[in-house]
C-alpha cells in the first residue's frame, strides 16, 4: 500500500470517509476504549491517577483470582451452565423446525409459529418476574411437580434447581424464534432430492437423515461455532434477575462475579482482570471451534 494510492483514495472517497466518521468514532470510544481500559487489569488502578499513571503490578490480580476460594465455583458454574444450555437448548429449535416442516396443514403451522415466536419479545424482567411467581411454594410449577410426588418448596431458593429453571425458561422463550433460521434453510432444500430418495426406496426417517439434515448442516455448524465462541460468556442479566445469595453455589458465574466485584464493590482492577480472563478464554474457544470446523466440515466463520 503506497502513499500515492492512499492519497488518491482519500481524495476520491473523502465524502464517504466523512460519513462513516461518527460510526468509527463510536467504535473507537465505546468498543476500543474499554479494551484500552482493560489495561487496569495489570495495574493498581486509582481513578485519581488515571489509567496511564496507575502503577503496574503485572499478573497479581489474575493470581488473586486463581487463588480465590470462589475461583473454581464460578468457573465450574459457568462451564456447566453453558454446556447444559448447549446440550438442551441448541437442538431444541432444530427439532421444532423439523417437526414444523412436516406439518401439512398451513394454518396450523402458521399458528404454532406465531405463538412460539411471541415469548422472544417479552422482556426478561417480565419473564423472570413470572418465573418467580410460578416457582413459589404454592406456584404453578410446584403444582405440577406435586403430581410426581415432589415435595413443595420455593424452587428459586434451591441451588439444585437453578440450572434446570434457567435452561428451561430459556428454551421456553427462545425455541420458536431460534427455529426461524432453520425453517428458512429447510424451505430451500430442493424437492427433487426428496423425490429421488423416495424412488430409491428411502422412507420418511431415511429421507430426514439423508436429505433434510445434510441440507441444514452448514447452518447448524455455523450457529454451533458461534455458540461455542460464547461458551464462557453466559449472560449476566438473566442470572442477576434470577439469583440470590442462597443459590450462589450453582448460579454465580464469572460474569455475575465480575458484576458484583466491579460495579457493586468497586474493585475495578481486580474485576477487570477476571473479565479479561473470561474474554480471552472465550476468544480462544471461538478460534479453536472455527479451526476444527474448517478442518472437518469445510464450514467456517472465516
Amino acid at each position: 500500500m503506497n502513499l500515492k494510492l492512499v492519497k488518491k483514495d482519500f481524495k476520491l472517497n473523502k465524502a464517504l470517509y466523512i460519513m462513516v466518521l461518527p460510526v468509527i468514532a463510536y467504535f473507537i470510544i465505546f468498543k476500543y476504549g474499554p479494551m484500552y481500559g482493560a489495561l487496569i487489569a495489570f495495574k493498581n488502578f486509582s481513578p485519581g491517577l488515571g489509567i496511564m499513571e496507575s502503577p503496574w503490578i503485572g499478573f497479581d490480580h489474575f493470581m488473586k483470582f486463581f487463588e480465590n476460594v470462589y475461583f473454581w465455583r464460578v468457573l465450574k458454574n459457568t462451564l456447566l451452565l453453558s454446556i447444559y444450555s448447549i446440550l438442551w437448548g441448541f437442538p431444541a429449535p432444530i427439532i421444532l423446525a423439523l417437526l414444523l416442516n412436516d406439518v401439512k396443514n398451513k394454518k396450523f403451522k402458521k399458528s404454532v409459529q406465531t405463538i412460539t415466536y411471541l415469548p422472544h419479545f417479552i422482556s426478561l424482567v417480565v419473564i423472570i418476574g413470572l418465573l418467580k411467581s410460578f416457582a413459589e411454594t404454592n406456584g404453578l410449577i410446584n403444582d405440577f411437580l406435586v403430581l410426581f410426588n415432589v415435595e413443595r418448596k420455593p424452587l428459586l431458593m434451591q441451588p439444585e434447581y437453578f440450572r434446570t429453571m434457567y435452561i428451561a425458561s430459556n428454551i421456553w422463550q427462545q425455541i420458536g424464534w431460534s427455529s426461524i433460521i432453520y425453517l428458512a434453510t429447510l424451505s430451500n432444500i430442493d424437492n427433487n432430492l426428496y423425490e429421488a430418495a423416495y424412488i430409491d426406496g428411502a422412507n420418511k426417517w431415511k429421507q430426514t437423515i439423508h436429505v433434510t439434515l445434510p441440507g441444514i448442516s452448514s447452518t447448524i455448524i455455523i450457529l454451533l461455532i458461534l455458540r461455542i465462541g460464547r461458551l464462557l460468556s453466559i449472560g449476566y442479566e438473566k442470572i442477576i434477575l434470577m439469583y440470590n445469595p442462597a443459590i450462589y453455589e450453582t448460579s454465580d458465574v464469572i460474569s455475575t462475579y465480575v458484576y458484583r466485584m466491579g460495579l457493586l464493590n468497586f474493585n475495578w482492577s481486580y474485576s477487570t482482570a477476571v473479565g479479561l480472563f473470561n474474554s480471552v478464554l472465550n476468544f480462544t474457544l471461538l478460534i479453536i471451534a472455527n479451526k476444527l470446523s474448517r478442518k472437518y466440515s469445510e464450514t467456517s466463520l472465516w
Binding site: 460519513m19 476500543y32 476504549g33 474499554p34 484500552y36 421444532l96 416442516n101 422482556s123
Partner: protein
C-alpha cells in the same frame, strides 16, 4: 418442502398424529402463562395468594382493582414516559448511524474498507469487559444522564452487517446514473438507497426497539434518580425485588399486591402484544438477511 411420498406407511401416520399433538401441547405451554397473567390480574388479590393450580377464571370474582392501582401509579407512568423518550431518540439515532456505516461498507473501491470492517467485526468477538466500559462512560460524564442509555449503544456491529448486506444488493446501475448527474453520496443514500430499503429499515427498528424496550441492566448501573428510570427498572422493583414501595400503595391489605404484580406485567407487555402481529412479517426477513453474512 417436506418428505416426498405417495402413500403414508402406518408408522408415518402415527408420526404425523403425534407431531400434531406435540406441537399443540407446545403452543398451549407457551400461551398458558399469558392467559394466567390476564386472569390473575383481574382476580381478588387476597384469594389469589391462597390459590394454587391452574387458573381458568378470576379467583374471587372479576375486579379491576389492581388496574386502578397500576394505572394511577406515578412511577409506572413515569417509567413509561422515559421508555417512550428513549425509544424515540434511541431508534432515530441508532438507525441513522447504522445506515451511515452500512452505506460506507456497501461501497466498492474504498481502500480502507476491509481493514475497518475487520476492526468492527473483531469487537463482536472480543471486548474489554463491563468494568472498563463503565469507566469509559463515567469519564464521559454519562452517569445519571438519560443519554447514558443511548450513546454507548448507538451501533450494533451485527445490525450494521445486516444492513450492509441489504444495501449491497441494490443494483449499482441505479446509483451510477445518479452519480453521473452529480449526486453526492449523501443524496444517493437518502434518495436512492434508503427508499429501496424499507424492509431492512423495519427490521432495524424492530431489533433496536426491542433492545431499548427490554433493557434494564445499564439503566440500573448508570441512573441514580428514580424519575429517570425506564419502565423495565420500575418493573424489576415490583416483580423481582418484590418491593411494593415502588407502587406506593397506601392500601393496608397485602393481598392486592399479588394481583397488582400481574396487572403490572400486562400493562407493561401490552404494547409489545399489540404491535407483534404487524411486525411478524419482518421476522423471517430479518433473520435471513442476518444469516447471509456467515
Amino acid at each position: 418442502m417436506s418428505a416426498y411420498y405417495l402413500k403414508e406407511s402406518k408408522g408415518e401416520k402415527v408420526f404425523y398424529i403425534l407431531n400434531y399433538i406435540f406441537l399443540f401441547v407446545l403452543s398451549l405451554t407457551t400461551l398458558y402463562p399469558l392467559y394466567h397473567v390476564i386472569i390473575a390480574s383481574v382476580s381478588d388479590g387476597n384469594k389469589l395468594i391462597a390459590h394454587s393450580g391452574l387458573l381458568f377464571k378470576p379467583v374471587g370474582g372479576f375486579t379491576l382493582e389492581a388496574y386502578t392501582a397500576v394505572l394511577t401509579n406515578p412511577n409506572i407512568l413515569n417509567g413509561y414516559l422515559n421508555t417512550v423518550f428513549l425509544l424515540a431518540v434511541g431508534i432515530t439515532l441508532q438507525v441513522a448511524m447504522t445506515a451511515l456505516g452500512a452505506y460506507f461498507f456497501s461501497r466498492r473501491n474504498v481502500l480502507f474498507k476491509n481493514v475497518l470492517m475487520f476492526l468492527i467485526v473483531f469487537t463482536m468477538f472480543f471486548e474489554g469487559g463491563i468494568v472498563p466500559f463503565f469507566l469509559v462512560c463515567k469519564d464521559l460524564s454519562l452517569i445519571n444522564k438519560r443519554m447514558s442509555l443511548v450513546l454507548p449503544f448507538l451501533v450494533s456491529a451485527y445490525n450494521m452487517i445486516i444492513m450492509r448486506t441489504s444495501f449491497a444488493s441494490i443494483p449499482a446501475s441505479l446509483e451510477e446514473s445518479a452519480k453521473l448527474d452529480g449526486a453526492k453520496h449523501i443524496d444517493i443514500l437518502f434518495k436512492i438507497v434508503l427508499p429501496l430499503s424499507k424492509a431492512v429499515i423495519a427490521v432495524m427498528i424492530l431489533y433496536y426497539g426491542v433492545g431499548i424496550w427490554n433493557s434494564w441492566f445499564w439503566a440500573s448501573v448508570f441512573l441514580r434518580d428514580r424519575e429517570k428510570y425506564p419502565l423495565q427498572l420500575i418493573l424489576r422493583e415490583i416483580l423481582i425485588a418484590n418491593d411494593m414501595s415502588a407502587m406506593e400503595t397506601t392500601v393496608d391489605d397485602v393481598g392486592i399486591g399479588e394481583s397488582i404484580k400481574y396487572a403490572t406485567i400486562l400493562v407493561a407487555t401490552l404494547p409489545i402484544l399489540m404491535v407483534y402481529p404487524f411486525l411478524q412479517r419482518y421476522f423471517v426477513k430479518g433473520v435471513m438477511i442476518g444469516a447471509i453474512k456467515g
